[in-house]
Symmetry: none
DNA sequence: AATGAATGAGCTTTCATTCAT
DNA sequence: TATGAATGAAAGCTCATTCAT
């Protein structure tokens, strides 16, 4: 199994979950969702008005409420599917086998994950922004996030770390929770800078990724090439 | 100059800027600000209503608008002073002298800064949360943040890094912008975990700080003790 | 063409422009307009509250703003159509032909116009009152009035005066602007007395009209019968 | 008695009543009144806010209410004195003697009155505007106006007309009420044109006055010189 | 006499949601 | 399924007025 195959699997997982949602949508409904994503991410959930969403979707106000009982249900319908797509690559069955077959070193693994998630994040930037913005204010969202994302990813990370620690490539001192937070926050930091603070400033994505990987690897006491 | 003195300076800077704002406030106005901070951080700026703010402040709704022309002005009056307090420790005159007199190693310096900012952040958690939540939606806030916080802190970090790089304690490969983002995002990651995601889970602050410092030091290629 | 026909044309013009406005109104919207006319003319635009308008219209307050973005738009929607109706009789194509066919003397013409406009004014008293009251405070209204009413009526009056001056029935010394103002202000003076100052005092409309016509005719140096 | 003396009397009457009002005013109160006159005439009574009045007067909000119990009392304090000044020249004792001594012809009299009132109106334009605008909406104002202005001026006009009718200079057919309305409305029409509709257009005051006098004289069947 | 902070009722306007068509 | 008129609660904000200083 090589990187090409990996990408295909990921692709496939994405399509799968995406289709589940969108397959049975009417054209109007799709427009509503798209318009909602735009406006939620532009002005925030609370400041977005259903009438503006309807207008930008080219749809009557009432139509939104035919598909979603409340404005909040519309939010959840947008943000919940993202979560499963977010964890998809970590849920492949027989993960460890995949791992050992595929990534000789922790660095290889890390690079694969980061590149993959950067791809993903770029595609779903708006919805991710909505999710992160709303988690602090919506307890049910927070709960769903911890259960559906936090827990499974957490346990995967644990397995992975043990795997590479036993291979002697990773310091045993660092706790998996800390490592997860460390990785997640540095990645999200990169995103905050590139997409939120300076969206107009051009950047060399490859270089930034390399740099980031070095920071994480060193930080976690893994030997770089 | 020792840590004790450092804390005193910081203290003094804080008081100074705080007093400027609050000195001439009436009792009611203070209540309004406090109530607004609470509610903005609980439900977000857009979802907070001036009537609820007034109610919790024990004040008539009109009173808010006697002191602040608009709801947004109230937001800014809360969030703008935070910025100057945020950068205060970096603006001390003769910073380099202070530095060399005080911190032998980069690690010492890093520890001092992180502990200091953790102190600060704990004290001002709510307002920081408001600021971060609103920056993506308020262009003027974002601009003010970049100018008043980003720029000065950025140039300080540059000086500091050169200083310790020349002392041979810091890898020369890392760019200051990247370093700043790296440090900021790991620190904020810690905060997001401890205060937003699991505010009820007890934690050993000292241990977390030590851990964080090691991650940063290693990540940036500084030799740990 | 006789007076009967003239009245029919006028009638038709009225209906025409009225229908344009009201045809596509919902029942509720019509109630809103009616109620707004009443209340604006009773207390003045600024002192009228949308909530009172809604209440008297038997409609929810929000309904007003579904049809008119602002209170001012509601005012304009009431007052603007009046202007076109006000000038309608002066805009008939081939006016001069009508004139010569119809009115042998200036007095006849004057009598026709005055009676006609008194009819009109009685029907639209409230809206006229609103218009006159608000013109001094709303620059856009004033502009619209001058362009849509002042200019066309002015140039018609000019034509008419030349016509009767050449017939030797009208002094050539008087300027058309002055004549227009003279006629308009005496007519409006009559209205102010009868409808504003003493609305409860009964009056002989025919006698008052005759009297008024004599005053104007003599004032303008036209020979009375 | 000549025109010079007449002017002096008028002057004196004016001062007298003016002083009554303003003599005991503090500087602040005067500023309040001036500011109120400006703002009432600019935006209308209902749309003027006491806070704006206070601000333009350079006075605290509360100060207004120290002098005037309510906003309406402020309005009345401005508009009521105008009424007495408006009728002052008609109330001179022994009016008929003055008349016969002074004005040989009705035209002379008319010219004197009109010139005098134009003088007056120019000086008090703003307050007159306020009065006229508010009369339709304030029953007590209307009542005061009819009693203090309408009645005395009406009876004076009656005397005057009889006087000149007996001198054979004035048609006996016209009713004094009608004559009063006719004169008032043509004068006010001139004012509306010159001060409200086209305040920026320059005009020859003397010519306009002459023209107006001719219109009135002819209209009323008085022989012009 | 003058201030200006405080009030609470009321303002215009927006909003999420309902429902007859 | 889709519409859009209608709703009424609630939003942000203004206002005339009061009162302790």
């Amino acid at each position: 199994m090589n990187r090409q195959q990996d990408r295909e699997i990921e692709q496939w997982l994405e399509e799968l979950s995406a289709m589940e949602d969108e397959r049975k949508m009417t054209a109007k409904q799709l427009q509503i969702v798209r318009s909602a994503v735009d406006i939620f991410s532009e002005k925030g959930y609370a400041a977005a008005s259903t009438s503006e969403i309807a207008q930008r979707a080219g749809v009557a106000e009432g139509t939104i409420f035919r598909h979603y009982k409340t404005k909040k249900e519309l939010l959840l319908s947008i943000v919940t599917p993202l979560m499963s797509r977010l964890v998809a690559p970590f849920i492949i069955r027989n993960f460890q086998a995949v791992l050992s077959a595929q990534y000789e070193t922790f660095e290889e693994f890390l690079r694969a994950v980061i590149e993959n998630r950067i791809d993903f994040a770029r595609k779903h930037m708006k919805v991710i922004k909505i999710l992160i913005q709303e988690i602090p204010f919506q307890p049910d969202l927070k709960k769903a996030f911890l259960e559906q994302v936090g827990a499974p990813v957490g346990s995967r990370i644990r397995e992975i770390m043990v795997y590479y620690q036993e291979k002697g490539q990773l310091s045993k001192e660092i706790k998996p929770e800390t490592a997860l937070r460390f990785m997640a926050s540095t990645i999200m930091g990169l995103f905050a800078e590139k997409f939120l603070l300076f969206p107009d400033r051009p950047w060399d994505e490859q270089a930034a990724t390399d740099e980031l990987i070095q920071l994480i690897l060193h930080g976690m006491g893994a030997d770089s090439k």
